[in-house]
């Protein structure tokens, strides 16, 4: 079961990185994170109806001076590929993609997604890190954001179910 403690720690990492807008679409494993986002007054939570919108939302937020992240399952990452390419990469927009790594080891629900997620990110040229130990979260979220702004592109953090 997703844990509230893990969710609080990850949200704290986003806050410490100065991320103030998070767009999201749920997965069962992301419920605690999304509830925690809604309860948090420092972060504007924008619940989406399809993930590709989130690339646009994060872009709009960035253009107006806010640091933004998009929280979704890996199926949503696939839904977002056009906007990632023709908006985020085209205009060099930094953002953090927090992606539940469905179909990764230990998750039997979406084996096909598990196989294509990393190759798709690689093809897009989006730097990708895997969060498999919660103690690494501050370094990956903070460092990932610095890298996103330095490279001027999205950076993906794949969330193993184990950390949630």
């Amino acid at each position: 079961m997703p844990s509230t403690d893990s969710a609080k720690r990850i949200i704290q990492c986003l806050k410490n990185a100065g991320i103030s807008i998070v767009a999201s679409l749920p997965d069962a494993a992301l419920v605690a994170l999304i509830n925690e986002l809604d309860a948090n007054n420092d972060i504007t939570h924008i619940p989406l109806s399809r993930e590709e919108e989130g690339v646009g939302v994060c872009t709009g937020a960035y253009l107006a001076g806010r640091r933004a992240a998009l929280l979704m399952q890996s199926a949503g990452l696939l839904n977002s590929c056009n906007a990632l390419t023709t908006t985020a990469l085209q205009f060099e927009i930094p953002m953090i993609l927090l992606v539940l790594h469905a179909g990764a080891i230990g998750d039997m629900a979406f084996p096909k997604l598990g196989q294509v997620t990393e190759p798709v990110l690689d093809a897009l040229g989006i730097p990708t890190y895997i969060l498999s130990d919660l103690d690494d979260a501050p370094a990956l979220v903070g460092g990932g954001l610095v890298q996103a702004y330095n490279m001027k592109k999205p950076v993906a953090i794949l969330l193993d179910k184990a950390v949630l």
Partner: protein, 209 residues
């Protein structure tokens, strides 16, 4: 109504309003009427409602404009769904409905058949949704959008530009690289807002807690 004629009558209202402009001839028309730096020029068809929404949420005390088309809106109906859920008060979403994908070969869009975008907007919870088909009613709708809380959805039924495109197209609209256009837009917003908008990696690194 011709879109270019309609835009001419409202452009002065947008003097301090950043805009997101969809892919197509509306780009050129809007940039002919006001400095291109005051708009973000989209590349992903349909992304206007989403980029505009993110911008509106980021600067809630300033109106944000979206210049959109029927083909773009029907490609990303989700943007309306989220707008109806989040309801940013400062968003002015103008959709110019010519019922065709004019910039990509003039094939009919869904609005040429059975789609009623006003019903869609109202149905997803955007309470201010108005259809206009004269310049006077368009000006009235835009004026109202500046005076009252939104989100506002204005569906302007327009003629295709066709072969009658103004000869001035492009005369004032200097083409810039997409990334340069982004920076120009952010610098424009900095001037408008009177604060730092653009951050580089050092800014971000130094701010980490």
């Amino acid at each position: 109504m011709k879109r270019f004629d309609a835009l001419k009558k409202v452009v002065h209202l947008f003097n301090e309003t950043p805009c997101c402009v969809t892919v197509g001839a509306v780009w050129v028309e809007w940039d002919t009427l006001r400095p291109a730096d005051q708009s973000f020029h989209l590349k992903t068809l349909g992304s206007g409602s989403s980029v505009g929404l993110g911008m509106a949420m980021a600067i809630p005390n300033r109106k944000v404009g979206i210049l959109d088309g029927d083909g773009a809106v029907t490609m990303n109906i989700n943007g309306l769904v989220t707008t109806g859920r989040v309801r940013p008060k400062n968003l002015i979403h103008m959709v110019f409905d010519n019922k065709i994908y004019e910039s990509s070969g003039s094939i009919p869009t869904a609005t040429a058949y059975n789609v009623d975008l006003i019903k869609v907007a109202l149905g997803v919870g955007i309470k201010s949704a108005r259809r206009v088909n004269t310049i006077e009613s368009f000006v009235d709708a835009v004026e109202n959008a500046f005076k009252t809380d939104g989100p506002h959805f204005i569906l302007a039924e327009v003629e295709p530009v066709g072969a009658g495109a103004p000869a001035t197209y492009g005369a004032n609209a200097k083409r810039v690289d997409d990334v340069e256009g982004k920076y120009r837009f952010m610098r424009y917003l900095e001037t408008l807002e009177g604060r730092k908008i653009y951050e580089d990696a050092i800014d971000v690194k130094q701010s980490l807690r």
